[in-house]
Symmetry: C2
Amino acid sequence: MAERNRGFFKALNLLVLNVVSSPGSGKTTLLQKTIERLAGSARVGVVVGDLETDNDARRLRTTGAPVVQVSTGTLCHLDAEMVGRAIGAIDVRALDILIIENVGNLVCPAEFDLGEAHKVVILSVTEGEDKPQKYPNIFAAAGLMLLTKVDLLPHLKFDIGTAIEHARRVNPGIEVMQLSAESGAGMDRWLEWLGRGAAAARRT
Amino acid sequence: MAERNRGFFKALNLLVLNVVSSPGSGKTTLLQKTIERLAGSARVGVVVGDLETDNDARRLRTTGAPVVQVSTGTLCHLDAEMVGRAIGAIDVRALDILIIENVGNLVCPAEFDLGEAHKVVILSVTEGEDKPQKYPNIFAAAGLMLLTKVDLLPHLKFDIGTAIEHARRVNPGIEVMQLSAESGAGMDRWLEWLGRGAAAARRT
């Protein structure tokens, strides 16, 4: 089913990202700011997974982007079939980028291919540098790690270098960016990465 | 197996807590400070669950407390059998309180009774007020919610009242405490709660 999604996305020249993090890493705020900043240059749609509530979908819809909420109940991750069903509810053919905001969980989503081009793992700097070692599967599976909430660094004992070193130990090829959706720091580089990814997907 | 653990703990007059939170909520720092502050008044042992690494166990052992690390591999929670096996490695008979630090995950641990007296859910104030609504099972199952990292409140948009309201909506009886292991704020109330719980366990 993941391969079917992948083929479908490829046929539509769509860049698809599977965004995974702990609860409360700031995924939704980041996506909100990302969609706002990309307005006019790329059309973004979102599939949001949560056990309960459609809070995130409602927040994301304020950007004007098409958003589908998937309520997983007690299930700790999205799977390819849920995503395949969910995208039926929006006009994916009109999109350049589809972002799948997975259930807030660093464990279970690592095991489930949704048909995405890349997994993006978010680690907020409030969480501690050793998370890549403690949850190695998701950091090994991700193409990109976003270190978020860097505006809080002055108030924390968090060493960016150590966090990156731990991530590279489980995944030497992982790309790393530091940003703050709140202050806007580092957002340009992330938006350029998305732009390059969308352009590459258009050429395939 | 959870009931067997419960009977075993009861026979030993042991207070057993199952501590659950997101990755990076500050569980280990809180436990470290808790054990240090209880030294002389209560003997505390810890079972720590993590997918990989024994970082947390090593940090906790610096307190002098007996600590067992359980590596769950790809498993997203501890179960009663793992706990039953783990406590064989320490002298539980010499303890007043056993704290089980579960895998950092707000989803899966909610479903697994380990034989504990109480589940304690930790929500750090960096995570957002709506977590109880989004992960209702664990907040419904917990007897106590600890709002941690309150020293960071001045730098965040986090409304304590809203977070408590959300928690009480899924669990009207949940007890709530605010604290910071870093600054020490609110620690006294938490230590008193533990002391009362240990005294009650001694009387059963």
